[in-house]
Amino acid sequence: MDFPTDLLLNAVLSGLLLGGFYTAVTLGVSISFGMLDIVNIAHPAFIILGSYIAYIVNSTLGIDPILTSFVMFPVFYALGAAVYQVYYMAFERRGQESLRGLAFFFGLLFITEVGLVLVFGVDYRYVNAAYIGPSLPLGFASLPLRLLIPCVIALALVAALQLFLSRTFVGRAIMAVSQDQLALRLMSADPVRIKRIAFGISIATASVAGAFLIIIQPVEPSVGREYIGRVFAICVLGGMGSLPGTVIAAMLLGIVESITSTFYGPSWSPAVAFGVLLLTLAFRPAGIMGR
């Protein structure tokens, strides 16, 4: 019985690393859906966009994808702010965000995907970096660097974001904006501006998540769809907008998926996230860290 224990431990370890990556993927949705109440189902599409930008820069200039993604941070921030401005003007102000706002984001998701198919075709794309091949040996297990590095950077990103949200005025205003807009106005902060900043940050994290994605697996335009279920499952399980909750939920899902694919085959892993989402919604809609 020595073999299955090793296998199980390995699965748990790689699940934890995978969870780090899922944290980065979900971070943006935890902000937009969890804190701002904007159901941005197009978030995975922005992640794929980030992957393709990392791919273009890597294949033409040979620059590291993660470095590229941090350089692209301001560009994605501006893109997010612009999308929020349109969303606010067209839907939120008119109080039509539920039906038409959802359709708007669904349209964005679709346009991005089809646009990428038209430009790049449906071939799988990948990047080159020194850390994609080797792994870090650790006794019985080995940690592949291409999972370890995204995991570490993602956790650092979460820590930085958590500091920003709890220590700065704008950060606290972001946490407050979905709770009481009037109180926020009385503190002389414009809720629309605060939401624009927050949505910009949420899309900016997609740039980094996109670079991680293309490091971990080859990317083609429709890969993003597999992440919609995962992202929202993690967000809901983590308690909607709690960053520590997001990390814990992402690790949990990572472990469950990794065990499923080790013992039952990788083709079943997309179903795991959905099962988790449905069970959470049915039995504990407030999530593990919810109040």
Binding site: R94, S98, L99, A103, F274, L277
Partner: protein
Amino acid sequence: MRTRTFLVLAVGVGLLIFGASRFVHNEYYFFASYVVLQYVVLATAWNILGGYTGYVNFGTAAFFALGAYSTVAINKLYPIPIPALMIVGGAVSGIVGLGMGYLTLRLRGAFFSIATLALAVVLQTLITNWDYVGGSRGAYTIPPMKVPLIGPYIEYLFVIMLGLAVIAVVIARAIEHSRLGFGFATIRDDELAAEASGVPTLRLKLIATSLSGALMGMAGAPLPYYVTYLDPASGFSLAYAVNSIAMPLIGGTTVWLGPVIGALFLGTIQQVATVTISSALNLLIVGLLLVGFVIVAPNGIVGLVQARLRRRGQP
């Protein structure tokens, strides 16, 4: 207009289209109009839940493909005629809709929408892993060459889809003018107020979800005969989901005419664009039209026309 009068009218229009089709001998037109009619059904079905109650279903492809795969599964056991297959497909999709609705509809609307989006991914995973219906290899369904009285098989499929489109539109219109429809409208306008006034919101939402899912399943049931080769990627294509949302929103969501106009308009454009330009580009057109319409004309084509009539009415 009474529902019965409308039923007679709708059947009349259906018979007229059928009669006119007797003079068409180019099979391409039947293939093309089958797709357009299929979208009339899908858009109308989506609108029963999305337009009337305001709950967004992103999983049209899932319900549609469930209907199609019920056909594949049953045909392997014992082949039965298509109308019977449609009833089975409709029942399967309706039950799935009911179950999912029961789990997620008690929460905020966004959760339901996200769950439907994930449902499509998961069902596709299940079908891909289910060897009995062909798995990822896909399944072949060979239709007979001819059908007595009607002629080539595609004409038979066309007639069936025409009939389903008439049924779907009549159901949608009947709902609009019934207590059920008023109940749906109260949910759409203010669910909390509706609940407080004693409207059984959960039950109404479950009725809408099951009915809408069942119609989508029925529309999917003849698909294996139409395409003859069905694989999970084409059955669960995102194009079904995006079209069935875009068509009602472009046509107008509050009346039965909206989805029909949207489906005829977008469906015809796509049939023309697929032949003349390319199929990826025509999906891009649909996405752009969807985003453009929800931003600029929130009430769709019907809303634009109504606003124009109203302006002319009061000089």
